[in-house]
């Protein structure tokens, strides 16, 4: 029989669905926006559908537009019907399970206020106390900043000034905040936002979101590296020639011209998502799967990246901007012709970087990063290119040198892992050809994976910050980007590339000068 002393809540012991978090009220600032309707609420509904939300759970939407609770719930339900992964294939049917929705909807409230209005926060406090009494949420809060970044600081300061946040110390109730991207647009602005956050919240209460970390395949990088003995001995400069990380998008700026023109590919994709991929691929094994242990190792990777001084940007970086062209047979406009983009804009829509990690494991191994818009297809992958095998043995019988092995971690679409290896072609001759062994998640697990926001929201409600970025991670990453941005200031305009191609021709030259080639994802 088990021990006699009662653990904290012994009734949770042994439950299969153990990961259901404790009581909580989720307060979404910017609750009438696109993110809430397309991502957050469908994710919350999916969690409820899977029984992953606590029964003591409520949601408050905080936004400027006048709206009743009922109107808010109706709008949210429409979003869920459209975007939930449990939506039916046949659009004529409603995919919403009424029992699940009713249980969720009874805890949904709308609170109208300006983000700068003191009274609005006062009445929010009253509403939250009432919800604590009626929904058993016990003072636990999760604030979600889904507004424009310009509102972040004001909301955080108001929450602090009006007593809606208690520091984590000496409190049984948890109070946390999720901050959406972009987290600053430079090292200085990121530091300033961190300073504002630190004025109200402890670091362990802060959850900086990077939705890439919520993707199953990104999480699987850790599983693949550290749950399989066969890869780790090869995972270093001894066996690896170089690493290529590609995040290609076929879409353009899609109505986000004003934001994007002020941001660019480096800030929008490289500083956050791609640097996270670099960290996960290159990190040392953490001592545990605890959030801090994993994040400690990721930060070490970022700190080991050799800074690119402004005068080195030509050697280690390349910028591009898309011109007219065609994608999947459809004509598309140039970047300059996009709405809300300046006619003389020099904002990059394509970027290639060569990074070196000055540490023992990766000394001398270049990491090539490539991201662009209006490329031929959507693809995100990490390719580990191994060194070529010695040619001596098969050279006499082979017309061409043996291809080096490549391990590809495909993040999207068609998530999976592929290995290119050499094998003998059946027949009398020793003819060796590369063959691809391909593991596809979709081919092995038919069930649809949870959306990234599902996982991230669940973890934030549960207080697990493993898949969120820490202050030093963000600042480290920005310090690398800042130097590049500084160097680009005096550079010639970005190289132009035709939409629907794999970037400017200069991008090919960028890697070919090292005797290597970009992969075709």
């Amino acid at each position: 029989m088990h021990e006699t002393q009662l653990p904290q809540n012994p009734l949770h012991e042994g439950l299969i669905r153990q990961r259901t978090p404790g009581p909580c009220v989720l307060v979404i600032f910017g609750a009438t926006g696109d993110l809430t309707h397309r991502k957050l609420f469908p994710a919350l509904y999916n969690l409820a559908h899977e029984g992953q939300l606590p029964s003591s759970f409520a949601i408050v939407g905080f936004a400027r537009r006048p709206k009743t609770n009922e109107e808010f719930r109706t709008e949210l339900r429409q979003g869920v019907e459209q975007f939930s992964r449990f939506s039916p294939i046949n659009p004529a049917q409603s995919g919403v399970n009424p029992a699940v929705w009713d249980a969720l909807a009874q805890g949904i409230y709308y609170h109208r206020s300006e983000f700068a209005d003191d009274k609005g926060y006062g009445s929010l406090g009253e509403l939250l106390e009432q919800i604590d009494r009626t929904h058993g949420t016990a003072g636990s809060r999760l604030f979600y900043l889904a507004t424009a970044p310009t509102d972040f600081a004001r909301i955080i300061q108001q929450l602090g000034a009006l007593g809606l946040v208690h520091r984590v110390r000496n409190q049984t109730a948890s109070q946390r905040i999720i901050v959406e991207k972009p987290f600053g647009r430079s090292l200085d602005t990121a530091r300033e936002l961190n300073r504002v956050l630190a004025g109200v919240f402890d670091e362990r209460q802060i959850f900086r979101i990077d939705h890439y970390l919520g993707k199953e395949t990104v999480q699987n990088i850790l599983a693949m590296r550290f749950a399989n003995e066969i890869f780790e001995p090869l995972w270093s400069q001894k066996s690896i020639d170089h690493v290529q990380i590609t995040v290609a998008e076929s879409i353009g700026v899609e109505g986000r011209g004003a934001y994007y023109d002020n941001s660019g590919a480096l800030r929008d994709m490289v500083q956050n998502h791609m640097m996270q991929l670099v960290s996960l691929v290159a990190m040392e094994p953490p001592i545990s799967l605890e959030a801090e242990d994993i994040r400690d190792e990721k930060v070490k990777v970022l700190r080991s990246i050799r800074p690119i001084a402004p005068e080195q940007v030509q050697q280690f970086t390349l910028r591009g901007q898309y011109d007219r062209g065609s994608i999947a047979g459809k004509q598309v406009v140039s970047y300059h012709e996009e709405p809300n983009v300046a006619l003389d804009s020099r904002t990059e829509t394509f970027v290639a970087l060569k990074l070196f990690l000055d540490n023992w494991r990766w000394a001398g191994v270049p990491f090539y990063l490539r991201h662009g818009k209006r490329l031929p297809k959507q693809a995100a992958e990490i390719a580990i290119q191994f060194k070529a095998p010695p040619a001596v043995l098969f050279a006499a019988e082979q017309a061409a040198p043996l291809q080096p092995n490549v391990l590809v971690l495909r993040i999207q679409p068609d998530e999976g892992i592929a290995i290119r290896m050499n094998a003998k072609v059946p027949g009398a001759a020793m003819n060796i050809q590369p063959v691809k062994m391909d593991f596809r998640y979709g081919g092995s697990f038919g069930a649809r994976s949870p959306d990234a926001y599902e996982r991230l929201l669940h973890d934030a409600i549960a207080g697990d910050s493993t898949l969120f970025t820490r202050r030093d991670e963000v600042e480290c990453s920005w310090s690398i980007m800042d130097a590049i941005l500084e160097g680009w200031k005096d550079e010639s305009p970005p190289a132009v590339y035709e939409s629907g191609t794999w970037g400017p021709v200069e991008a090919d030259q960028f890697i070919e000068k090292d005797g290597r080639q970009w992969r075709r994802p």
Partner: protein, 364 residues
């Protein structure tokens, strides 16, 4: 039938009769054909995947059909080599026959067919004695083996013990047994004795929703404080299959987790049965936990598939909280069990306590 015709039949899910000794060879031929059927090898229309061997044991045609349907659903999340055994020991014919079929579903935007294979072996009369020897060579190496036994495995000790030696997990459903309470002690001893193979009773897995809802009532620290002051527990259940057993298991679980002695548990727990046309597959209707000044009630709602929780105690005035039942069909329950390989100690403690609480059943 031509090779291509056979391939189409196979991948469409229809069964192809094969000699028991030729099962592997025939599967190899058909998968080879499937692999070569696409003109562009990079766009092969069929992918095979397997995470485990799943052996489903059945004794009736209805159970076999149920197993096939369940496995078909299950393979979207747990692709496996499925081996369905149909044993009819009481038939006079001495026979052992086999068939193979593919379980395919679309993936990757509906372009690709992801397939698993199902091997069906039917044995009757003395042929049932040879089932074990037919199954063992069919288990894929390096994969865990799970046996889903429909019926009472204690009634077929020969085959059960032979399969149990190679199994990593045995899944069964005591609610489908006749007078399951009689076997509680034997199953509990078996669970303790079996070192290699963990036991999972779907009847217990079905209780997860009620256990979770109960646990969540005590997440609030003020409520948790009353856990050790519970004076009475009233569990109402319907009269459907296994409902009484699950009420007993629920009581056993609560008592074991709260470290009650069997005597304390017998004094505090009461089971009540009543007819309920709308009872769920779990069969519990309500649970009421009382202290001197607090009542925690979990009640299945009528008219929809939800349950409500009401906590009544000083300084806590929660609204009744509603939660939707989650699926308790065999595919969903099996899927949960396949996700969790570790032995379930809480179930073992609950089972031991439930065995001690059997006198409660005489009162209902």
């Amino acid at each position: 039938m031509s090779n291509l015709g056979q391939l189409e039949t196979f991948t469409a899910g229809a069964e192809i009769a094969v000699d028991v000794a030729q099962i592997e060879r025939q599967l190899h031929v058909l998968w080879q054909l499937a692999s070569e059927s696409a003109k562009d090898p990079t766009q092969r229309a069929i992918t095979r995947a397997s995470l485990l061997n799943l052996v489903a044991y059945c004794e009736t045609d209805a159970a076999r059909n149920h197993a096939t349907e369940t496995i078909s659903t299950l393979t979207t999340r747990h692709p496996c080599r499925a081996i369905v055994l149909l044993a009819k020991p009481y038939e006079s014919r001495d026979e052992l026959s086999a068939s193979i079929s593919a379980l395919c579903h679309l993936a990757g935007g509906g372009r690709k067919q992801v397939c698993c294979e199902q091997i069906s072996i039917c044995a009757s009369g003395e042929g049932t004695g040879r089932l074990g020897s037919a199954v063992l060579p069919l288990l894929e190496s390096d994969l865990p083996t799970v046996i889903w036994w429909q019926g009472n495995f204690l009634a077929r000790p020969g085959l059960f013990l032979r399969l149990a030696t190679v199994a990593d997990k045995l899944v069964y459903d005591m609610s489908a047994w006749e007078a399951p309470e009689v076997f509680l002690g034997a199953v509990q001893r078996l669970a303790v004795d079996q070192q290699r193979c963990s036991l999972a009773d779907l009847s217990w897995t079905r209780l997860e929703f009620w256990r979770k809802l109960t646990a969540e009532c005590f997440d609030n620290p003020r409520c948790r404080a009353v856990l050790d002051r519970i004076r009475s527990v009233e569990i109402a259940h319907g009269n459907g299959p296994g409902a009484r057993l699950r009420a007993l298991l629920y009581g056993g679980w609560l008592a074991a987790q709260l470290r009650w002695t069997p005597q304390e548990a017998l004094a505090k727990i009461r089971l009540n049965s009543r007819d309920d046309a709308y009872a769920t597959a779990v069969g519990l209707l309500s649970v009421e936990l009382k202290t001197a000044d607090a009542t925690i009630c979990i009640r299945k709602n009528y008219g929809d598939r939800t349950a409500s929780v009401q906590v009544t105690m000083p300084q806590v005035c929660d609204l009744p909280r509603k939660r939707a039942f989650w699926p308790t069909d065999d595919a969903a329950l099996l899927s949960e069990e396949l996700d969790h390989a570790a032995p379930d100690l809480v179930r073992q403690w609950a089972l031991a306590m439930a065995a001690a609480l059997l006198p409660l059943l005489r009162e209902t």
